[in-house]
């Protein structure tokens, strides 16, 4: 079994035979649709969101053909895909050979991580060349917006090159020491500096004798951890230089939801916003669910009280089915879909949704 097969089988297993194989594809690829993201939370696989962004349709088809050809591991009728008994055993057996990283959080931090990484890698490369007194170099990032952003950053920070390099070094050491060894190794070796270009995922995978895709996921896990640490509100004190890299990254909301969010921050309630914006209450609720799904720092408490949240979590844990209507029926009448969806957005692996993985 290859690592890719291992990953796909793991995810098919998590979907419990209730989703098609393309649900796995959309998840890994990071398709931002209501269906994909709701599934992600329902089956607690949202951490894998967008982790294989560059996977092409053709590559996916080839992977699935390989898996389907023998017909031993999966049953796939197009609408539903599930593991056979043999597939389940093969998956269990493979767990000793492959290791999934523990820091992935693709839905919440994938987008931010990507942006933070391109800024971080350019900043480190710049600082490294500055202290080597080489102002000209081939940047690892070519996107003009990032180049300009770093220019502004250097001005705003206003430290001389020695102080900047020393500060970055100390903060990166502090950051990496919080991470698993392998992730720290991957992050640091991919960074470029004066006279040393970073290593590609493929090169690092070979040097670690691990599969390429597994290495890619571990690298991403390190990125997501980085984003999580640096976007946290209290990060500015421990990471004064690095936390700035996480500034002005938008949450990826649609324009209308962003407007609703602004009004919420001003203290307006659902009904007020609906009246003010001449929207249906249900639409504003949809916005709030979207905000909860996008911004991990957003508190759902004003909309769902603690006991309701606990009830919903219990039911999600107890019931096998992931059909929202069935879940609602198992709950008191005053808890509606709005509440369930909000709680869903706040589920994490610790409140494992009855998954047996």
């Amino acid at each position: 079994m290859t690592f890719e097969q291992f990953l796909i089988l793991s995810l098919i297993h998590r979907f419990r035979g209730e989703r098609s194989a393309s649900a796995v594809y959309h998840l890994l690829k990071g398709k931002r649709t209501a269906q994909t993201i709701q599934d992600g939370f329902l089956y607690q696989v949202h951490v894998y969101f967008q982790t294989l962004k560059s996977l092409t349709r053709q590559e996916w088809q080839a992977l699935m053909e390989d898996l389907s050809r023998s017909g031993r591991w999966i049953l796939n009728d197009g609408n539903r895909c599930l593991l056979t008994e043999e597939g389940l055993q093969a998956l269990e057996a493979a767990r000793s050979r492959f290791e999934l990283p523990t820091g992935l959080d693709g839905w919440f931090y994938g987008r931010a991580a990507e942006k933070i990484w391109s800024r971080l890698s350019l900043l480190v490369q710049t600082a490294s060349h500055l202290i080597a007194k080489q102002p000209r170099f081939l940047p690892v990032v070519r996107d003009d917006a990032t180049l300009r952003w770093i220019k502004g950053y250097l001005k705003a920070v206003g430290r001389d090159r020695e102080a900047l390099a020393a500060g970055l070094y100390n903060e990166l050491v502090a950051l990496c020491s919080r991470f698993p060894e392998r992730e720290a190794t991957l992050l640091s070796n991919r960074l470029s500096g004066s006279g040393m270009a970073g290593k590609t995922i493929d090169q690092m995978a070979v040097l670690l004798s691990r599969p390429e895709t597994e290495t890619l996921l571990w690298f991403q896990s390190g990125l997501h951890r980085t984003a999580k640490v640096l976007t946290a509100k209290q990060s500015a004190s421990s990471f004064p230089l690095l936390s700035r890299l996480a500034k002005d990254i938008d949450a990826g909301l649609t324009a209308s939801s962003a407007k609703t969010y602004e009004l919420l921050k001003k203290g307006l309630g659902v009904e007020d916003i609906a009246r003010l914006r001449r929207l249906k209450t249900a639409t504003v609720q949809d916005h709030i669910v979207e905000i909860a799904f996008c911004d991990p720092e957003f508190s759902i408490r004003p909309f769902v009280n603690e006991s309701a949240e606990r009830l919903v979590k219990q039911v999600l844990k107890r019931t096998r089915t992931r059909r929202l209507s069935a879940i609602k029926q198992a709950l008191p009448a005053d808890i509606d879909y709005f509440h369930i969806r909000l709680v869903l957005a706040r589920m994490n692996d610790r409140d494992d949704v009855g998954s047996d993985a």
Partner: protein, 502 residues
């Protein structure tokens, strides 16, 4: 004209011009339209870059490939010219707007032909003070050539539209027929011609034939182990580049990496930079690699698959020996390789029986005029990038003439495909004939461009007699296998700390 030399020294750090450069620059500065044919690796881009520094205003460079544009912008910035930018469809809307508003701060603007179709872009250019209109890879104008791009046909009219700035058409290789075609299409009948031969005398040429692919692989391992690095090995497919890279990695001590357009942007840049900083001995690559990479000391180029066209072959071997030192180009040919090129040509076009469905899917998603969207639809349908671009370009050209019934559109596209394939197969057969030459290979190559071989100083080709020992490494240096640094050590190295923390 000592000012030219002074600028050359000051801005680019060179002591002297290479053949042709100065003459071209002088004619540009006099305000003439110029057609210039300079071989790859001879510093074509320096001509408009230096002229641009002296002309002032905005130099617009039309370039067919996004990666090429970005490489050129980077190269300019590396020389300290910050006023360079690239405008292509990969730019976000905001970025595009920002760039168009600040054109007056820009000295060199690289632009794709399709961006020039935009009314908004042309208006901005009309307002800007365009002092030179450069058409790079000008042979794309010609329908005779295998690299024909329909978008290039409009460049003549576009130049008129933005106020008829002087035009510089540049190409590395174009025969007489193609040259006439380019000049007519661009409307530069009174241009000054600067033609320099395609020959690169410091690159020795060899073709080695074997029976099987396995033999070829063994020979490659031998060559890569013994030849003086750095080098590039070219493949026709991404898969093959990756696979052979893996073999080289496990069976030799050379530092190798692979490179192709299917990798994400950061990975590609890392490989380019590793190669540039001599951290790699060899890159196993598709043709996507090397354009715009200004690495002077590439010592060999090996073709593991032969290119489909003589032009492409010249471009690729031209990446060796830019420093003028002896270098070698070796094409390895096995019998089974002959199946590949036909397949590749067919892949460059959509299959005829899928046309109705493909066109419908473009039209449901919007129209062919929104190119980025249309191309995305086609890629998702499994079309190759080239096939997608071909269909979108052809379709949008037809749509501009007015909406026609579907069957009519399909009939015309079918005809177009047949014509384009015929051109490509003709070019392919020329390449194959050349591989079969028994006489001097350089001579045979030059004759294709109606040139004669000048006296040869160094090694010429395997037919004339070639001693590959000249290109060997002085001794088989043992090199320690690279390892991943522990993170503490890596961070210390990045920030120039003498000792790792703790």
């Amino acid at each position: 004209m000592t000012t030219l030399e002074a600028t050359l020294k000051e801005r680019f750090g060179f002591e002297a011009f290479r053949p042709g450069q100065k003459e071209v620059i002088e004619d540009i500065l006099k305000g003439h339209d110029v057609f210039c044919m300079l071989p790859t690796g001879s510093g074509k881009s320096l001509c408009y870059q230096l002229a641009g520094e002296l002309l002032g205003g905005l130099v617009v460079i039309v370039s067919p490939l996004v990666s090429l544009m970005e490489d050129q912008v980077e190269a300019l910035r590396l020389h300290g010219e910050k006023r360079a930018a690239a405008l292509n469809s990969f730019l976000g809307r905001e970025e595009k707007e920002r760039l168009l508003r600040s054109l007056h701060e820009c000295r060199f603007l690289y632009i794709s032909p399709e961006m020039l179709q935009s009314e908004r872009v042309r208006r901005a250019l009309k307002r800007a003070n365009v002092t030179l209109f450069v058409v790079d890879e000008a042979h794309c104008v010609s329908e005779w050539g295998y690299e024909f791009r329909p978008d290039y046909l409009k460049l003549g009219a576009i130049r008129e539209d933005i106020g008829r700035p002087p035009c510089l058409a540049m190409t590395a290789t174009a025969d007489e027929k193609t040259r006439a075609d380019i000049i007519a299409r661009l409307g530069i009948a009174h241009c000054r011609l600067h033609l320099y031969g395609v020959d690169r005398p410091n690159i020795a040429i060899a073709v080695e034939k074997m029976d099987t692919g396995a033999e070829k692989l063994e020979r490659l391992i031998e060559l890569v182990t013994n030849l003086q690095s750095p080098g590039i090995v070219y493949f026709s497919s991404r898969k093959a580049a990756e696979a052979v890279h893996a073999v080289l990695r496990s069976r030799t001590k050379v530092r190798t990496a692979y490179y192709h357009a299917g990798m994400d942007a950061e990975e590609r840049l890392l490989v380019q930079n590793q190669f540039f900083y001599d951290q790699l001995d060899v890159v196993c690559a598709t043709t996507a690699f090397g354009m715009g990479i200004n690495k002077a000391n590439v010592r060999y180029v090996i073709h593991f698959h032969y290119p489909l066209y003589v032009n492409a072959y010249l471009q690729e071997i031209g990446r060796a020996g830019r420093d003028g030192k002896p270098s070698v180009a070796i094409a390895l040919v096995a019998k089974e390789d002959h199946l590949l090129p036909e397949r590749l040509i067919h892949r460059e076009f959509p299959e005829v029986d899928r046309l109705p469905a493909l066109i419908r899917s473009i039209r449901t998603a919007g129209s062919a005029l929104d190119r980025a969207a249309a191309e995305a639809v086609l890629t998702e349908a499994g079309l190759s990038e080239t096939a997608g671009r071909f269909l979108v370009e052809t379709l949008s050209a037809l749509d501009e003439e007015g909406r026609k019934p579907l069957h009519d559109v399909i009939r015309r596209i079918e005809k177009r495909i047949a014509e384009r394939k015929a051109v490509k197969f003709r070019e392919l057969s020329i390449m194959r004939e050349w591989l079969e030459t028994t006489g001097c290979r350089r001579q045979a190559m030059l004759r294709l461009f109606h040139e004669e071989k000048a006296g040869n100083a160094g090694d010429c080709c395997d037919a004339c007699g070639l001693d590959l020992n000249v290109y060997r490494k002085p001794c088989a240096q043992g090199r320690e296998t690279p390892l991943l640094d522990p993170w503490q050590k890596r961070l210390a190295k990045l920030f120039g700390c003498a000792a790792p923390a703790r």
